[in-house]
Amino acid sequence: MAAVELQGVSKRYGEGPAEVHALRHVDLVVEEGELVAVMGPSGSGKSTLLTIAGTLEDPTSGEVLVRGAPVSAMSRNDRARLRRRSIGFVFQDFNLLAGLTAVENVALPLELDGVNARAARAEGTAVLESLGLADAAGRFPDELSGGERQRVAIARAVVGDRHLLLADEPSGALDSANAEGVMRLIRSACREDVAGIVVTHDAQLAAWADRVVFLRDGRVVDQTLPPPSPEDLLEPYHQR
């Protein structure tokens, strides 16, 4: 089943001479377990695409389906519940709450959704452990490095029964080693029933995705083809 589907999505801001077309008739299907990167320059509509896929914003026209359910038919409360339970967001600047430890940050979405504190904390701890972040659990955000903070933010985005991970330039300010750590984590999170969309201008990040979709001036202009086998890739080297 498609984790999320955008059907003919357009988004306009402003009116008259100030009108801006952020997205124009975008069609995009992301299957469960698939990691898709949306690549484009600043102003191409990447972030708008992500906020619409995450039901934070409505399209001007077109429809968004999350696991087959049309978002336009949902009430505000339904959408808020969908975001709390099913969708995880990762932003460039981490957005961790400074007064909470790593595990409390990770457990927070569960607690907001009515899970009791002890169970939420246990699940938060389990996710941190599964992502190799057990040491970070009791520390506050300002006691973590940039790379650790972003990995905790990814743990928060996948805790509970989430099936859609949305990331906006997730390794923006990180060096290449930490950026690789973040993408390895996102890659491994998207291997079962979790789908992911990463928007970025950085090809090294996008290359972790199963599929790269190219956005230009609000339109999907191209996408990558499925890969040949690694053996085919190494062939020219073996002939040297």
Binding site: H201, L233, H238
Partner: protein, 193 residues
């Protein structure tokens, strides 16, 4: 890729047989650059002729022959590590020529030409990233060799992105002067000493 210097580097760890050198070389480069055994022995013979390696005297050619690095070989290796490879002369980059030509050719959408190449490069990067991912974070040789490919391809994509933006801006602001020739008029030299 300098095979002689790579072999000197491996011999600087201690004496080795030819076959062992080949296995070590492939392991250290993440098996991205395979060597055939003939290449190893030819290179070793040349290094021995030049006095950079020595082999056990009295033994026959073959897999049981031990090679070791000489003091001259150590000096050669140290000098090679510090010598910058020749990156200064502009290579005849086919992609640059294609974009320069597409930018001037009537009826050709240069942005579409750029996108075809951008997609191809991203697909190559996806394949390398998959090899790195499958190898795990612990394979140092593979990580280093694949990163070199990824950074090289990434730099070409960045150039394409910059060219795309530059061409877009240029289209919005038509030049006052008639268009110049599609190739730079003067070849500027960088890195000449």
């Amino acid at each position: 890729m300098s095979v002689p210097h790579a072999l000197l580097a491996l011999l600087s760890e201690g004496p080795k047989y030819g076959l062992q050198l080949r296995q070590d070389f492939e392991a250290r480069t993440g098996e991205v650059w395979p060597l055939n055994v003939g290449q190893v022995y030819t290179t070793l013979q040349r290094l021995e002729r030049d006095g950079l390696v020595a082999s056990d005297s009295g033994t026959e050619d073959g897999p049981q022959r031990h090679f070791r690095i000489t003091p001259a070989g150590e000096a050669e290796l140290a000098a090679w590590l510090q010598t910058p490879p020749d990156l200064s002369s502009p290579p005849r980059d086919e992609l640059v020529i294609k974009v320069l030509v597409a930018a001037r050719l009537p009826g050709v959408d240069v942005h579409q030409v750029i996108q075809v190449h951008r997609r191809h490069l991203v697909e190559l990067m996806q394949q390398w990233t998959r090899i790195k991912d499958d190898g795990g974070a612990g394979d140092l040789g593979l990580g280093l060799a694949v990163d070199a490919e990824l950074f090289r391809l990434d730099s070409v994509i960045r150039w394409l992105d910059a060219a795309d933006g530059r061409l877009k801006r240029a289209a919005l602001e038509p030049p006052d002067q008639p268009p110049a020739s599609p190739l730079p008029r003067r070849r500027r030299r960088v890195g000449a000493r």
